[in-house]
C-alpha cells in the first residue's frame, strides 16, 4: 500500500468513506510522519496524539454504525496555534501563553471537530502572527522542507511547512497581511485568505481585528476548497461575520480543474509586475501568465495606483489594533506572570511580565501602534492610514469593473535563508508587499504554486472581489492542472 501521507485530503476522505482505510490508520500514518521528520522541520508546537487518535476512533465507530460522515471525516488537519482549542495548549507562538490551555474552542475548531476531521496538533507561527518567516516564534523557527536552511514564510510557516513535509494533508492558517498566502508560496503549497467575514474569527487570538482572516491551507486547490467549505460561513459569535452562504468554492475548484478559462478576464496588477520582485519570481510569474492565456483567459494589465501605499498603511493600522488587542496579556487572568515577589506593585509586575513574555517584533509593533493612536499623532498616522485604506479598496472596485480577478506574484522573493532578514525589521515587512492590499480591502486571495526559481517554489496570487472566493478557486485550479506538481526533495 502506498504511504497514506502522500494522498490528498479528497482521496483520504474517499478511502475512509469507502472503508478502504480506517481513520485511525490515516491518523497514525501522519503521526508517524511527524515523529520521523518534525525534529528537522519543527512545524508543530504541540502534537495531540491522544486527542487525534480518539477523534479518529470516533469517526471509525460512527462509520461502523452507519452514521453519515462529513466530506472530510477522518482526514487529519493541523491548526495554527493562534486558534483556541479547549484543553489543548494554545500559545500564539508566545512565551506569554506558554502554558495556557483555553477553556473554550474557537468556532473554526468546533466546525472541524463537527465535520469529523482529526486534529493532529498545533502549528508553529511568528509570535502573535507578526512576522513573515516564523523566526519570531518564541519556540524556535520552522524550517522549509524544500531547503531546511531556509524559512517557510510566516506567520503561518508551521501550517504550510507541515503540508510540504507531508505531516498533514490539511491545515488552518490566519492571514492578516499575507500570513497564509506567503508561506503557501514559499513552500509550494496552496494558501487561501477568504473574504474577511467569510470565516469566523471567534477564538482566533487577535492581532489586527479588522484584517485577521482565518483560512484553509492544503497541497491542492480542491483540498483547500473542501476545507474552506467546512470552516466557512456565518457565525453569530463574530459580529463581523457575513450572514451569507459560503460561495461554492468546491464546484469552482472542480470547474477550474478542467483547465478551461475561456471567458475569464484577468488583470495583472501593473504596480506589482515590475519592480520589487526578484527576477526568478518575475520569470515564473510571466510564464504562469502565458499558461493562463493558453487556458483561454484574457489577461490585461490594470493599474492600482494606491497599492504602493498599502504597506505603510498596513504598518500603521495593524500595529495600532495590535497595541490594543495585546493589552489583555497582563498576567492577571491567564498566561505568564513575572516578578510577583510580594514587594513589587501590580504595575511593575505587569510591565515585567510583558517585557519577559513578548518578543522583539511584538514589542516593536505594540509601541508603534501606541504611538500611531496617541492624541496628536492619530490624524497623521492611524486616521490617514484609514483613508488610504479607502483608496485602496476603491482601486480594487475600479479594477473589478474591468476584470474578474487580479493576479500578481504572491511574494517578491523565494524562501530566504534563516536569519537573512531579522536584523532589519522593515526588510522583513517587504515579504508581504503583494498580499497586504487584499487584507486592507477585505477581498479574498489565493496563492497557488506556479513554478520554481533556483529550485525553490514561486506562488501566483489570485485576488477576487469580496464574497467571490469561487472565482479565484477556479483560476487557481486551472493553473494547477496545467503546471506542476511541485514536490520538495525527500526529507
Amino acid at each position: 500500500m502506498t504511504d497514506l501521507t502522500s494522498f490528498s485530503a479528497a482521496e483520504l476522505a474517499g478511502l475512509v468513506a469507502r472503508g478502504e482505510s480506517s481513520a485511525v490508520e490515516v491518523t497514525q500514518a501522519h503521526l508517524d510522519r511527524i515523529s520521523a521528520v518534525d525534529d528537522r522541520v519543527h512545524a508543530f508546537l504541540h502534537v495531540d496524539t491522544e486527542g487525534a487518535l480518539d477523534a479518529a476512533r470516533d469517526v471509525d465507530s460512527r462509520r461502523a454504525a452507519g452514521e453519515p460522515l462529513g466530506p472530510l471525516a477522518g482526514v487529519p488537519v493541523a491548526v495554527k496555534d493562534v486558534l483556541t482549542t479547549k484543553g489543548v495548549p494554545t500559545t500564539a507562538g508566545s512565551k506569554i501563553l506558554a502554558d495556557w490551555r483555553p477553556p473554550y474552542d474557537s468556532t473554526i475548531v468546533r466546525r472541524l471537530r463537527a465535520a469529523g476531521t482529526v486534529m493532529l496538533g498545533k502549528t508553529n507561527m511568528d509570535e502573535f502572527a507578526m512576522g513573515s518567516s516564523t523566526e519570531y516564534s518564541a519556540f524556535g523557527p520552522t524550517h522549509n522542507p524544500w531547503d531546511l536552511s531556509r524559512i517557510p514564510g510566516g506567520s503561518g510557516g508551521g501550517s504550510s511547512a507541515a503540508l510540504a513535509a507531508y505531516e498533514t494533508p490539511l491545515s488552518i492558517g490566519s492571514d492578516t497581511g499575507g500570513s497564509i498566502r506567503q508561506p503557501g508560496a514559499v513552500t509550494g503549497t496552496v494558501g487561501v485568505k477568504p473574504t474577511y467575514g467569510g470565516t469566523s474569527r471567534y477564538g482566533l487570538i487577535a492581532f489586527s481585528s479588522s484584517l485577521d482572516t482565518p483560512g484553509p491551507c492544503a497541497r491542492t486547490v480542491l483540498d483547500a476548497a473542501l476545507l474552506h467549505e467546512v470552516i466557512g460561513g456565518h457565525d453569530p459569535l463574530d459580529s463581523t461575520s457575513i450572514p451569507a452562504p459560503v460561495p461554492d468554492v468546491v464546484a469552482a475548484a472542480r470547474l477550474g480543474a478542467s483547465g478551461d478559462l475561456t471567458g475569464v478576464r484577468l488583470g495583472v496588477v501593473r504596480e506589482f509586475a515590475g519592480e520589487g520582485a526578484e527576477p526568478g519570481v518575475l520569470a515564473a510569474f510571466r510564464a504562469a501568465v502565458e499558461t493562463l492565456t493558453k487556458l483561454g483567459a484574457e489577461v490585461v494589465e490594470v493599474s492600482c495606483p494606491h497599492f504602493q501605499y498599502a504597506l505603510p498603511a498596513y504598518y500603521l493600522i495593524a500595529p495600532s489594533e495590535c497595541s490594543s488587542n495585546l493589552a489583555r496579556f497582563d498576567g492577571v487572568r491567564f498566561g505568564l506572570r513575572v516578578g510577583d515577589d510580594g514587594i513589587r506593585s501590580l504595575e511593575e509586575v505587569m510591565s515585567a511580565t510583558r517585557e519577559a513574555g513578548f518578543g522583539p517584533e511584538v514589542k516593536r509593533r505594540v509601541m508603534l501602534g501606541t504611538y500611531a493612536l496617541s492624541s496628536g499623532y492619530y490624524d497623521a498616522y492611524y486616521g490617514q492610514a484609514q483613508k488610504v485604506r479607502t483608496l485602496i479598496s476603491r482601486d480594487f472596485t475600479t479594477a473589478f469593473d474591468q476584470v474578474d480577478a487580479l493576479i500578481s506574484p504572491t511574494t517578491p522573493f523565494v524562501a530566504f535563508q534563516v536569519g537573512a532578514r531579522t536584523a532589519d525589521p522593515y526588510q522583513m515587512y517587504l515579504a508581504d508587499l503583494f498580499t497586504i492590499p487584499s487584507n486592507l480591502y477585505g477581498g479574498p486571495g489565493i496563492s497557488v504554486p506556479c513554478g520554481l526559481a533556483d529550485g525553490l517554489p514561486v506562488g501566483l496570487q489570485v485576488m477576487a472581489p469580496t464574497m467571490a472566493d469561487d472565482r479565484m478557486y477556479r483560476v487557481a485550479a486551472a493553473l494547477e492542472s496545467a503546471v506542476g506538481p511541485f514536490t520538495p526533495p525527500a526529507l
Binding site: 459580529s239 510591565s351 509601541m367 498616522y381 485604506r389 479607502t390 479598496s393
Partner: protein
C-alpha cells in the same frame, strides 16, 4: 532628522507596560525610527475628503437577542490564572488609582 526620540520611545514603553532595558531602548529607538520614516509615506496621499475605513464589511446593526447563555464554571474561569484566592483573581497591590468610567 529622527522621526522619534529615545525619550519618546521610553514613554511609549511605559504606556505599553513594557519594562524595556536601556540597551533595548537604544535598539528600539533606531528601529522604530526607520519604520516610522517608511510608514509616514501615507502622508503623501491627498486624502482630505476621503472617508476613513474602519471595517471592511458593509454590515450594520449586528445585534444579539437578550437571552442568557451558559457561563464558564469558576474552575474553568480561574484555570489559567497565575494566582487566585477566594475564587477571585489575585493581583499584587495596585499603586495607581486609575479608574476611568
Amino acid at each position: 532628522m529622527a522621526a522619534i526620540s529615545r525619550e519618546e520611545v521610553a514613554h511609549l514603553a511605559r504606556l505599553s507596560r513594557l519594562a524595556v532595558t536601556e540597551e533595548e531602548l537604544d535598539t528600539l529607538a533606531g528601529q522604530l525610527d526607520v519604520i516610522l520614516q517608511a510608514v509616514a509615506q501615507v502622508g503623501e496621499v491627498t486624502a482630505a475628503d476621503i472617508p476613513p475605513t474602519s471595517h471592511s464589511v458593509p454590515l450594520t446593526n449586528v445585534l444579539r437577542d437578550d437571552v442568557v447563555a451558559s457561563c464558564l464554571t469558576p474552575q474553568e474561569a480561574l484555570s489559567g490564572a497565575p494566582d487566585a484566592a477566594e475564587q477571585r483573581f489575585r493581583v499584587p497591590r495596585i499603586l495607581d488609582e486609575d479608574v476611568a468610567s
